[in-house]
Subunit: 393 residues, 2 copies
């Protein structure tokens, strides 16, 4: 990134960012995935903010959730109206302070925002993979991030931070690369999906796969399964909110009308909000990527995959200092799941801080401006970077 | 019903029931609906159990929920393998004791289980109504029930009982016909849908209306929108359960396999359970009826429709003694909604009993065998019938 260019926003100048691409695993040196399948070449879209310090000790990797991308914060140009997805948290002087830290964010494997996924060209056919794309796991996503860091010459991460499915990637980092990361920050996440979370993902997948335009995933040259993907997004959206926030945001308010319409149009504001969210999403996201990433999240299971069905055993490998944050109204990954995770970590004597933040916005709370969350993350990063400097003396 | 025929089940003989039909509102004397539309003729499917006593003082009306029907309990024949939907609650010696009470249950207006609905023949065209069927409200459903009771010569109800959307009908009875009902029993219900409840219904409706076989509701002579209706049912099913019951029922158990399959088939048991529920539902339910009944439930709003936006004012008309039951894990109609309802009733000095039952099964709890619920209902009915007798002296 170019730290001398600036963007004026709300009276504050912020650095501009640039989307970059790194390609590796060129055949015949494909990456071997958890399923045993081989995949290559792989391109990773990534962005950076801040300045890498001389001893490369100020690197923070941010892992995004289901529908995120590498554009975590900042603007692409001075005319760009929309900043990255976590601009409230990441930037100069913010919770994750890019005046101090060098922030990297990459698009996950299987997505459609620049990194190789089911919509990418299959070198074997010259056409998009579709469902010929191999199943990927959270572990595979992290392997790709590791390859990117190796390429950038970064051998150590001060912290890996992520919420939701991003948090799963952080857990995978802490377990699979214990020597590489100093700290792990886990927001609104879980060590494994509950049946409830799997159920909602499965409904979304069924909506996509039931769409007649789905055509077994081979829809790139024709009409897309937009109705199915929109439905999947609507289901997702409800699970990201909470009863409370929906009550205050919409209640039973009617749309453009004083009276009940007695028809099947969107009468209530919440109905038109959901329809809007659904139709907006299909313009930017690929239905197959939705299938692959939700399945990777459903498959993720720390204990089963790393500890012979024991989370305590899985966390025995971890060395990172850990901050876990959950939100009171998050019913997708409720606080009890964070507590279970923290308990399993503590049984290994790990340095874990846990905080449940009072928030009415549901699972989405980690993405929204939250003073408490920013302060907790800022101070935790402060502490671990100070301790790192001290340990290095 | 014939009280001399019996059915042997689990060693207990139970009375057989018979589905009957009452047709009224023959043109030009159609029923005027809340929307102003006129509908006729209307056929109502109903069933009765128990014996009507001489002074007709032992009548209980049971109102069913979204996908229910008139077959509340008992069997249709000695060979019938499956009893009615609330057989655990209704029958000789049960919570609602058909040795003492004469129970009536009718299928709601707009449904597809015998009562007139969108799949019925439109007399104007000789073809099924489809979306030409007028929108119906909970109030319209109750008007039809009232017409049935008038036909049966029953002027007074000892009690009206219902859960979920059935509970909304009970509220409508208590407010619109205060002189007709002595007691009202409200289970897992609400005075009006929250934005969350509307959102899930809207997702179900969108799933149906997005199905290419939907054909604007005119699908009766061709393929049906089965995929959309199945999806709607899957969404519904998740909202009827709870995180807790899904955890104990399915957890992360896999289906027929020892390992993750790395494909998009149903890997987890919860996935195949949902698919099964969806495909089972399309065999017995009409997609248009799903649209009409969920919309009626979303429109229902006691304060707005009966009290100038005040529930306290709406309940001022009520005379019935009331029992309200909610369930701890019901997140579709959470306990706080029952409490609000009870408070508004109490402000009118009504005789209200309220109980929140500890249950892990979610919204569905009212339909499942529950000793506590049975006892509460049984004793409440005991009390009100005793008080009725005393008042009549």
């Amino acid at each position: 990134m170019s730290k001398n260019t600036e963007h004026e926003c709300d009276g504050i100048s912020v650095g501009l960012v640039e989307k970059k691409l790194y390609t590796f695993a060129e055949p015949p040196n494909e990456l071997t995935l958890a399923s045993g399948a081989r995949l290559g070449p792989i391109s990773v879209a990534y962005e950076t903010m801040g300045t890498l310090n001389d001893d490369k000790s100020n690197v923070i990797l941010i892992a995004h959730a289901l529908s995120g991308d590498s554009h975590v914060a900042g603007y692409y140009s001075a005319a760009d109206p929309k900043p990255g997805w976590w601009n409230t948290m990441v930037g100069p002087g913010k919770g994750i302070d890019t005046d101090r830290y060098f922030v990297i964010c990459s698009n996950v494997l299987g997505s459609c925002m620049g990194t190789t996924g089911p919509s990418s060209t299959n070198p074997a056919t010259g056409r998009p993979y579709g469902l010929d794309f191999p199943m990927v796991t959270i572990g595979d996503m992290v392997k790709v991030q590791k390859a990117l860091l190796d390429h950038l010459g970064i051998g150590k991460l001060l912290a890996v931070i992520g919420g939701s499915i991003g948090g799963m990637q952080v857990l995978e980092w802490a377990i699979s690369y214990p020597e590489t990361i100093t700290a792990a920050i886990l927001l609104a996440t879980t060590t494994r999906h509950s049946a409830l979370a799997i159920a909602f993902n499965e409904i979304g997948r069924q909506a996509i796969m039931s769409d007649p335009n789905f055509n077994k995933g081979d829809y790139y040259s024709g009409p897309k399964p937009d109705l199915g993907l929109a439905l999947a997004r609507m289901v997702g959206h409800v699970t990201y909110l909470s009863d409370e926030v929906m009550r205050s945001k919409f209640g039973r308010r009617l749309q453009d009308r004083d009276n009940l319409a007695f028809d099947f149009e969107a009468n209530f504001q919440v109905e038109s909000y959901l329809r809007h969210q659904g139709s907006k999403f299909v313009q930017r996201f690929d239905a197959n990527s939705f299938l692959y990433i939700t399945k990777a999240a459903d498959y993720f299971d720390v204990g089963q995959q790393h500890g012979n069905d024991s989370e305590v055993e899985a966390f025995a490998k971890v060395k990172a200092k850990i901050l876990v944050i959950s939100f009171t109204s998050d019913w997708l990954y409720p606080t009890y799941q964070s507590r279970d995770m923290v308990n399993a970590m503590k049984k290994n004597g790990l340095d874990v801080s846990f905080c449940e933040i009072e928030a009415k916005c549901g699972h989405d709370a980690f993405l929204l401006p939250n003073e408490r969350q920013s302060t907790l993350i800022n101070r935790f990063l402060d502490r671990v970077s100070e301790e790192e400097k001290h340990d290095a003396l």
